[in-house]
């Protein structure tokens, strides 16, 4: 039973009336008039005034369907789930009411936990030791990963036709779905963690709050609900609706390249990641458990289409050719594939060339034997960086804030660093008693994260450009540079430690 006091202005004095409302069962309003000496006429006036006040509250208004949340996260990818788990883990923030909204279904990720498919899924990412340690010590979700599908490698060899550089660096290869699963499992452990992940729920509209002076944005959902957010976090990818809503500009350029990904088998298991820089862009072969591996191959839009459609018998040979042959031999082979030449012809041509030139075997000493047919996919590559990551009641995290060339495998790691810094800023804001949606609370996040991301985006962009040049003298200089750097251990470590 709830009650509220209503002051009724009367001729000379105010009558204090207490209104009791019974919730549940029959709705019944009882009016207690505290002043017993009032006349019947006054009583009638008072009752009428009360009814006038009551009527508006009895009409169902859209406001009633609106929930209020401290944090609304849009996007259930690794960045969004990571953020929710981090918020729910933090002793300073776990009391916040949070909701995560994902348009797709997370059922696949849950299924992955019970019965993982035998073959690798094709969305595989690399995690740096910093990210791994945050997931482990900072968040406690590392143990929930399927560890038999987590590959640790410790050496990278990058090369092109003219030079080679190798460095020791620890990193992990893991499927995106594996990370999602681990985070969902972690959320299930946390109080109020799991119930507030709403999947298969699309954002239909984000609008400004018009009523009652509140400036909380309202997120309208496909399930008919609306959520008002103290802080709306966009983890909703490159085309972020949250970023568009906040009118934050994102600047950058398309690379006119597509990334082709595929899961493959190689002839012998390895702990080494290889990356060859071709004039079209880098081709990386990253090891997975056993003799499995994954590739990321940056190609022109036309070539990417051709290679995605190439027969699955040919594709492994094409990868071998690209890894081992001199890059000026490749256009001829691409042309054969494009013209739908006989499969055996193409394979014979590649084999003949490989037998002839074994010079690059010293760099890539493995052989790709098979491609999992359904694993091939392509996506456009671009560099973009939002002008800022915050606006009043808005924060952007991960791809919504920046997209990066995949050549250094930094995508998710930047997203993780964003999450870590955002959570740090919110923790600080909470001990300062700030409204976590105000720019005062969010500014430290952008001021620390933006310059660091900008440097990383720039470095990867320059790598792409430097290796995209195909002109004899420049190639020779670049090769010389790589070989020189390779022999200078100290300088090399200095660079690696930056990552």
């Amino acid at each position: 039973m709830s009650h509220r006091d209503i002051l009724v202005p009367d001729c000379n004095n105010c009558l204090k009336l207490t209104l009791h409302t019974h919730v549940g069962g029959k709705r019944k309003n009882r009016i207690h008039l505290q002043d017993r000496k009032i006349t019947t006429v006054r009583k009638i006036i008072a009752v009428r005034i009360i009814w006038c006040q009551l009527i508006p509250s009895m009409i169902p208004s859209p406001i009633l369907n609106t929930l209020k949340r401290d944090v609304v996260i849009i996007g259930g990818g690794p960045a969004g789930l990571l953020l929710l788990a981090a918020l729910k883990t933090s002793p300073y923030l776990r009391h916040l009411l949070c909701t995560l909204i994902e348009g797709g279904s997370l059922a696949l990720a849950k299924q992955f936990g019970v019965d993982p498919p035998k073959e690798y899924t094709n969305r595989i990412i690399s995690l740096t030791p910093a990210t791994a340690s945050y997931m482990d010590l900072g968040m406690g979700c590392w143990n929930h990963l399927h560890h038999d599908r987590l590959k640790r490698y410790n050496h990278i060899i990058a090369y092109d036709d003219d030079g080679k550089i190798g460095f020791d660096m620890d990193a992990y290869m893991v499927e995106v779905i594996n990370v999602q699963l681990a985070l969902l499992k972690r959320l299930a452990e946390l109080e109020n963690g799991f119930e507030n992940v709403w999947d298969q729920c699309k954002v239909t509209e984000i609008e400004k709050n018009g009523g009652s002076g509140s400036d909380w944005p309202i997120v309208k959902l496909s399930n008919g609900k609306s959520v008002e957010a103290r802080l709306l976090v966009g983890c909703d990818g490159f085309n972020s609706p949250v970023r568009h809503f906040a009118r934050i500009q994102s600047r950058g350029w398309p690379y006119d390249r597509f990334g082709v990904v595929a899961t493959i088998k190689v002839s012998k298991p390895t702990q080494v990641a290889y990356q060859k820089f071709l004039p079209t862009g880098p081709l990386a072969i990253l090891p997975l458990e056993g003799d499995d591996a994954t590739i990321v191959w940056s190609l022109t839009p036309e070539l990417s289409e051709t290679l995605c459609a190439a027969p699955s018998e040919v594709f492994p040979h094409l990868v071998n050719a690209a890894m081992k042959l001199d890059s000026h031999e490749l256009p001829y082979i691409y042309e054969m594939v494009k013209n739908n030449d006989n499969v055996d012809n193409v394979i014979d041509e590649i084999q003949w060339r490989l037998n002839k030139a074994s010079v690059f075997d010293k760099y890539y000493d493995n052989t790709v034997t098979k491609v999992f047919d359904k694993s091939r996919a392509r996506f456009p590559l671009k560099m973009s960086h939002a002008d800022t990551y915050v606006a009043p009641r808005i924060a952007l995290v991960g791809d919504a804030a920046h997209t990066i060339h995949p050549l250094a495998g930094q995508g998710l790691n930047l997203g993780q660093a964003d999450v870590q810094l955002l959570v740090g800023a919110l923790e600080k804001a909470s001990t300062r008693g700030l409204d976590i949606g105000s720019t005062l609370a969010l500014e430290p996040y952008v001021s620390e994260r933006w310059p660091a991301n900008h440097v990383m985006l720039g470095v990867c962009d320059k790598f792409h450009k430097v290796f995209g040049v195909n002109w004899g003298p420049f190639n020779a200089m670049r090769g010389f540079g790589m070989n020189t750097l390779d022999s200078l251990g100290l300088a090399k470590n200095l660079i690696v430690n930056q990552v």
């Binding site: 209020k68 002793p91 009391h95 009652s212 002076g213 509140s214 400036d215 103290r230 909470s430 001990t431 300062r432 008693g433 700030l434 409204d435 105000s438 720019t439 005062l440």
Partner: protein, 314 residues
């Protein structure tokens, strides 16, 4: 040159006398009131004329939070031996790194635990638009906040802004504002935290206000204040640069002769034996505003702006 002479004159002639003067109770002059009334509308615009105050609030909250946190009693007298947190009788920095980390971690956990159970009662004197009051009301260790001010317009701004956050407007009673002077509050009402930030330099009789505040502290309660030393640096930064050159704050916000040196407050506490027994100046920190960065603590509390923490010990 003329302004420097005026500065010196003001510095010497009026400050001390005013500090010791008795007479009418605490109040602020009509000019001061009119000035703050005019500021009401832009008070909550964090990018507006009060941005510097919003930025200062971050440091205020850091000061309050860390002071209270550091002075918690980690092992209460009735605490059983096995539950006690180890507090080495010397600096933890002397211990090996892993041991030090373990000790500090245990202490931090205990501090969090004690702090989370606290339900402190706060009085924010000169709350203005409620920047500090709202922050205090959102803090987990605070149960009740009363903000008082003499300007009805800024209080109106505070109340309107309070309604915007359901955390403050729906938790009935956690945050209240009242148009009153501190001396008009009943003496029986006592508080765990009383704050007087950027306020003593705006009243006519600061020692009176301070006395009124100290009298309303619970034993173990804190009085946090901030004001400005009456020196050349303060005049140069807060009046000359702040108001006239950079126009960070509106002209007329400050009056030099109303500034108070931190040593004057310390002397005032120790000049009365009764006061000296009951109250203790626990900490004073100098603060400075760096454009494009914000506020920062300095190592010298005797120059420019400063924060001070006083505690009722008995």
């Amino acid at each position: 040159m003329k302004s420097i002479t005026t500065f010196l004159k003001r510095c010497i002639s009026t400050g001390f006398r005013r500090w010791h003067s008795t007479g009418k109770l605490t109040s602020t002059s009509p000019e001061e009131l009119a000035h703050f009334n005019a500021l009401a509308s832009s008070w909550w615009d964090v990018n507006g004329p009060q941005r510097i105050l919003h930025k200062m609030n971050l440091l205020r909250m850091d000061f309050i939070y860390s002071t209270i946190r550091e002075h918690l009693k980690l092992n209460p007298p009735d605490c059983p031996e096995e539950d006690k947190v180890y507090i080495p009788p010397y600096s933890v920095d002397l211990l090996p790194e892993p041991i030090k980390r373990q000790i500090v971690w245990e202490q931090d956990m205990r501090r969090d635990e004690i702090l989370s159970q606290k339900k402190l009662k706060v009085l924010d004197v000169g709350c203005g638009g409620g920047i500090l009051s709202e922050s205090m009301a959102r803090s987990s260790f605070v149960d009740d906040v009363m903000g008082i001010d003499l300007s009805s317009e800024v209080l109106q701004a505070a109340k309107i802004h309070q309604q915007k956050d359901p955390m403050l407007s729906e938790n009935n009673g956690k945050l209240d504002y009242q148009l009153t002077a501190i001396e008009d509050l009943p003496k029986s009402e006592t508080y765990d935290i009383i704050t007087m930030f950027e306020m003593l330099e705006h009243v006519d009789y600061p020692s009176k206000v301070l006395t009124e505040g100290l009298q309303r502290l619970n034993v173990g309660g804190w009085l946090f204040l901030s004001t400005i030393n009456r020196d050349f640096v303060s005049w140069f930064t807060t009046i000359f640069m702040g108001e006239h050159v950079l126009r960070i704050v509106p002209v007329g916000t400050h009056t030099l002769e109303k500034y108070i040196n931190q040593q004057e407050i310390r002397d005032w506490i120790s000049e009365d034996p009764q006061r000296l027994r009951s109250y203790e100046v626990v900490d004073t920190k100098g603060t400075v505003y760096l454009p494009a960065y914000g506020w920062k603590f300095t190592s010298n509390p005797n120059v420019g702006n400063y924060f001070m923490a006083l505690r009722r010990v008995k």
